[in-house]
């Protein structure tokens, strides 16, 4: 039983790690959610006793109730975080019209090349800089489409 649970956790963890290395943001987030589930299973597996449901009073050996409480808390937390991340992904999609990490990376590169120019202070305000980036991003997208 321990071996079976360990293998299950290992497979889920490995799939999560694989997904997190993908370029598509939705896959990355799926990977993160899976990772949380692997951790939840791990907590359940860390229980000290096995047995029936821990309902008191019980004449049977009961399972460890503490790990169940911990898993429940962890599930709630990972659920909340997953919601938050998905909404953030939506905002990123809204701003870049893409969930491809390569495109986000090139937008970041444009930004840091702006930062590194000693003449960057010529760009008066943050808003101007943002406009400049967006213009470049749009230009890059149109260039890519042609």
């Amino acid at each position: 039983m321990t071996l079976f649970v360990s293998i299950t956790i290992a497979v889920i963890f490995a799939s999560a790690a694989y997904l997190m290395l993908k370029r598509d943001l939705i896959r990355v987030i799926t990977g993160m959610i899976l990772l949380g589930n692997a951790a939840n299973l791990f907590i359940m597996a860390a229980g000290l006793r096995r047995g029936r449901a821990p309902v008191v009073p019980s004449e049977f050996e009961t399972s460890d109730s503490l790990v169940q409480a911990m898993t429940l808390t962890a599930i709630v937390i990972s659920f909340g975080v997953a919601t938050l991340v998905l909404s953030l992904v939506y905002r990123v999609y809204d701003a870049h019209h893409s969930v491809d990490l390569r495109r986000l990376g090139s937008a970041e590169a444009v930004q840091s090349s702006l930062d590194d120019q000693p003449t960057a202070h010529a760009i008066q305000s943050e808003e101007d800089a943002q406009d400049a980036i967006q213009d470049r991003e749009i230009a890059a997208r149109q260039g890519g489409r042609r």
């Binding site: 951790a39 905002r91 986000l104 937008a107 930062d115 000693p118």
Partner: protein, 457 residues
């Protein structure tokens, strides 16, 4: 009851403030006031603990060993006070300019709640829960400003730090399985007598989890991207308050719960710390944008904390606490003042820069000196050399940055308000004051180490 007071103030205060529009000044100042009162409650608790020794409280009246315990000792209180000072300053700073999102003040307070909670909790799983409260607040804060760049920064921040949180959760489950306890005091009694291998594995997982939060050398990759993207107040919060989780966690879990494993892994930490110092310093010199320079500087500075921790013993832990406290204040001052203009902001920045480089009379001098001293006492002159090289590197990058920001480029990015300037000057004065009268902080850091067990010789 008094232990729960700062938590209660922050919890109800944050919920209350969340109901209102945080972009309005009165709401913002109310949030600053509530944070400041939580800070005052924590300081009062600290004075009480200083006089009468550590306090303990079972949540909801459960007896020790059954319920979840809150513990207030000097180590937790020191970190809680520093974090709340940083949060209050950063929030005040942002309110005095203009808050751009209505949820911002409430989020800063929720982060304060999470941080104070995890510094006070005596239960490993509860630590994780508070940790997640502050992390979730940080995830949202990282996207504050909501420009495409800040959204990207928040995304990187969430993906990497969620990985760290999951690792930490796995570490706690492993700790529970090994010892049968979640109470940190009981775990620390169990770990030295357990078989070594599972404990080493658990300790490594937890070390990696906290290193990700701290941005230590091989786990630093996310830090520059996030810090350069965020707004100055948020960068100050992340590096001044949130990074305290890493230093506190390494002290609490490393020195308190896994002292044997800390001793065995000392050479690894020494190596990682040294690489962090050199790598952070050299990279910072090569960068131009202020947030990026300061981000690499953060990577360099945590190296000192790690070195102090790896040498261990009472002096080593005290040096680590001292350095963590001063570093949090330095980074807050630097991130905030680098976004302002004028000679006053320049002077405040220079104080922070001197403090990072370890030049008296700034407070950073005593942090550096404590590490010098343990290096000499431990008979390792190369540590002294390393601290000196690190200090020289930080001197170079700090003044390259000073030149670029306050001499060459005179245009303001954003409004330099009187309130923001006043705050920055006050923070600079605090750092100078620590440098001129270091004795209170030195004795606090020594007192804080008294609950950590001595390293096995």
């Amino acid at each position: 009851m008094i232990i729960a007071l700062p938590l209660a103030i922050l919890w109800f205060g944050a919920l209350f403030i969340a109901l209102f529009d945080g972009t309005r000044k009165p709401v913002g100042y109310a949030a600053v006031g509530i944070l400041a009162s939580a800070l005052a409650a924590t300081v009062a608790l600290g004075i009480d603990v200083h006089r009468h020794g550590p306090k303990e409280m079972g949540i909801a009246g459960w007896e020790a060993g059954v319920g979840i315990a809150l513990r207030a000792d000097m180590l937790g209180i020191t970190f809680a006070v520093v974090s709340l000072v940083v949060l209050t300053t950063a929030l005040w700073f942002e309110v005095s300019r203009d808050v751009k999102a209505r949820i911002f003040p409430a989020l800063v307070m929720f982060m304060g709640l999470g941080l104070t909670g995890l510094f006070f909790t005596g239960d490993a799983f509860n630590f994780y829960v508070f940790f997640e409260i502050s992390m979730v607040a940080a995830y949202v804060l990282a996207s504050y400003g909501e420009s495409p760049r800040q959204l990207r920064a928040a995304l990187i921040f969430i993906v990497v730090n969620l990985l760290g949180s999951v690792l930490f959760l796995v570490g706690i489950a492993a700790m529970y399985h090994n010892t049968g306890w979640l109470d940190m005091d009981r775990i620390s009694v169990q770990t030295p007598v357990l078989e070594e291998n599972p404990v080493i594995l658990t300790a490594t997982i937890i070390f990696v989890a906290f290193s990700i939060k701290l941005g230590l050398f091989p786990f630093h990759f996310w830090l520059p991207a996030v810090y350069t993207g965020t707004r100055p107040a948020v960068a100050a919060i992340l590096s001044g308050a949130l990074a305290n989780i890493g230093s506190y966690g390494l002290l609490r879990f490393g020195a308190d719960i896994f002292p044997r494993e800390l001793h065995e892994g000392a050479w690894v930490m020494l190596a990682l710390g040294s690489i962090s110092i050199l790598y952070g310093g050299i990279q910072a010199i090569a960068r131009h944008s202020p947030n990026e320079v300061l981000a690499y500087s953060t990577i360099g500075q945590v190296g000192y904390i790690l070195i102090a921790l790896s040498i261990g013993g009472e002096a080593g832990y005290a040096a680590a606490i001292l350095y963590a406290v001063i570093n949090a204040l330095n980074k807050t001052l630097l991130f905030l003042s680098a976004s302002l203009r004028g000679w006053i902001a320049g002077a405040a920045f220079a104080v922070g820069a001197f403090s990072v480089a370890g030049v008296p009379p700034a407070g950073g001098f005593f942090g550096k000196m404590a590490i010098f001293q343990i290096g000499i006492d431990d008979g390792r002159p190369w540590i002294v050399a390393l601290v000196f090289i690190g200090g020289a590197l930080s001197f170079v990058y700090m003044f390259l940055l000073y030149r670029a920001r306050f001499w060459v480029n005179q245009e303001a990015d954003e409004a330099t308000t009187k309130g923001a300037l006043g705050l920055v000057v006050a923070l600079a004065l605090v750092i100078v004051l620590i440098g001129v009268f270091p004795e209170p902080l030195l004795s606090i850091s020594r007192e804080a180490t008294s609950m950590l067990p001595e390293r096995a010789p």
